[in-house]
């Protein structure tokens, strides 16, 4: 039986997605990558992941909409970490209102992300 925890990562910077995939898979997690919010929603519906990592600004569907969909429509309790850029403080507050559990401001350290993921999953 596969006990590996699944994480969905919604991020439009492909290099960053790949880097986080390498880093988190090294820690024993299964990472599913979505390059935009629409794809992220599909993956979340399909896989019901243990944790969701999402950028706020993404094409088609924003990170806020992803959080809203997960909490409002899917009623999924998986922890959500939101990535934000400088100057998006208001968006971060909105994402907390919608049900996000944590946030990281870009640029962030991948090692710090791993610590936060572990804290939320164990």
């Amino acid at each position: 039986m596969n006990n590996k925890k699944t994480i969905v990562l919604a991020e439009d910077n492909s290099t960053l997605s790949l880097l986080l995939k390498f880093r988190l898979e090294k820690e024993g997690y299964v990472l599913l990558i979505a390059e935009d919010g629409r794809k992220a929603i599909e993956l979340i519906e399909q896989h019901r992941p243990d944790l969701i990592l999402t950028d706020i600004m993404m094409p088609f569907v924003s990170g806020l909409e992803v959080v809203s969909f997960v909490r409002g429509k899917l009623n999924l309790g998986s922890p959500i970490i939101v990535f934000s850029a400088a100057g998006q403080e208001e968006m971060v507050l909105k994402s907390f209102d919608l049900g996000a559990n944590d946030f990281m401001s870009k640029p962030f350290s991948p090692n710090e992300l791993v610590i936060r993921v572990k804290r939320l999953l164990h």
């Binding site: 290099t15 960053l16 880097l19 870009k106 640029p107 962030f108």
Partner: protein, 367 residues
């Protein structure tokens, strides 16, 4: 040949207008055909370029991540990393490949910090991309130089300090701005050395950006700012006054007092505000002494800071100005008198005929 002859003769039988229309139509048909073929070629070229870009992006993305994850703490550069460095070094000779590689590094640097970000800086240097960045500094096109300086700043290339410092007084404003940001973002307060001989003016926006960069920096070790306060360049003086205020440079109070005699009124106003912010009590008596010779703007500004420097000996000075011709000064003097010496305030005689003054007095009394 006879067939063509027939067409020519047939064409010549047409009236001149028809002939002209045929010629124009023919010209446009040829032009459309040429344009269609050109667009087709351009489209296939762009598609090929895009395909290549995606291909190289994927390739370099993988190399970059392998480089970042194969590092260990024992060796500075392990054989696997060295192999990637050599490959990327070869690739960076080609302009397009170099552009893709640099944009990939920039894109990742924008989103990550910590050890990996430092590794990317190292890779930029190891792959020789730094050399291309330096070469951009010698370009005749200003935007290329700006791009070069920005790139070198993004990858924290401190080793090119001299090359960049040498262009600090470049004739192009954008280049100067980028150079200043490079110096301050990488060397913090030490980077402000360009102020020593800055020939041009620092705009308000430039000053805000520099303060923002200084704020982001880790070092708070502030050098002696006195020479900049004495600069011939007034924008440097304004900027240094902002520094003195932001970083509470009480040590420069004597230089600030000297600047009360500066030839520029705007400088003197900012100096008064800075002295007030730093609570330099010694400046109060000088400002009081010079009050009547000062401009009205300076007098208003002095009354703004007067409250924080006030002591009981200043009561007579206040009383002298409760009927000042300037509304702001009059109002402030009355408010301060009410705050610090209520008995004296109550004894002020207000003539009922002086309606305007009575209104101000009533306002201060009730607030």
């Amino acid at each position: 040949m006879s067939k063509y002859q027939y067409f020519i003769e047939y064409f010549e039988q047409f009236p001149l207008v028809i002939q002209l229309l045929w010629i124009i139509s023919g010209f446009f048909m040829i032009a459309v055909l040429v344009l269609i073929s050109y667009l087709k070629m351009l489209r296939s070229y762009l598609r090929k370029k895009e395909k290549n870009t995606t291909k190289y992006e994927k390739e370099y993305e993988l190399s970059l991540l392998t480089y970042l994850f194969s590092g260990n703490e024992v060796d500075e550069v392990n054989p696997e990393q060295q192999l990637i460095i050599d490959q990327l070094k070869t690739c960076s000779i080609d302009k397009l490949k170099r552009k893709i590689l640099v944009s990939l590094l920039v894109k990742l640097k924008k989103d990550i910090s910590g050890e990996m970000s430092e590794s990317i800086n190292k890779l930029y240097s190891q792959t020789g991309l730094i050399g291309y960045g330096i070469a951009q500094l010698k370009s005749n096109q200003w935007h290329v130089v700006v791009k070069g300086v920005r790139e070198l700043a993004q990858f924290h290339s401190t080793e090119v300090y001299n090359e960049i410092f040498n262009i600090r007084n470049h004739s192009n404003r954008e280049i100067r701005k980028e150079v200043q940001l490079y110096l301050v973002s990488l060397f913090n307060f030490k980077g402000l050395a360009f102020l020593d001989d800055l020939k041009t003016s620092l705009s308000e926006w430039d000053q805000i950006q520099l303060l923002e960069e200084l704020h982001r920096g880790e070092t708070q070790e502030i050098p002696d700012i006195t020479p900049w306060l004495r600069s011939e360049n007034e924008s440097v003086v304004f900027f240094t006054l902002k520094l003195a205020k932001t970083y509470n440079q009480f040590e420069v109070k004597n230089t600030l007092i000297d600047l009360l005699l500066h030839k520029n009124k705007e400088v003197r106003i900012q100096v008064i505000l800075t002295l007030g912010h730093l609570n330099v009590v010694e400046s109060k008596e000088i400002l009081k002494r010079n009050f009547n010779q000062s401009s009205q703007e300076e007098q208003v500004v002095f009354f703004k800071i007067f409250e924080s420097l006030y002591d009981n000996n200043d009561e007579s000075f206040l009383l002298e100005h409760i009927r000042h011709k300037n509304f702001d000064i009059k109002l402030k003097a009355l408010s301060m008198l009410k705050k610090f010496s209520i008995d004296t305030f109550k004894n002020i005689e207000v003539l009922p005929t002086d309606i305007a003054y009575a209104k101000i007095f009533k306002f201060v009394e009730n607030n």
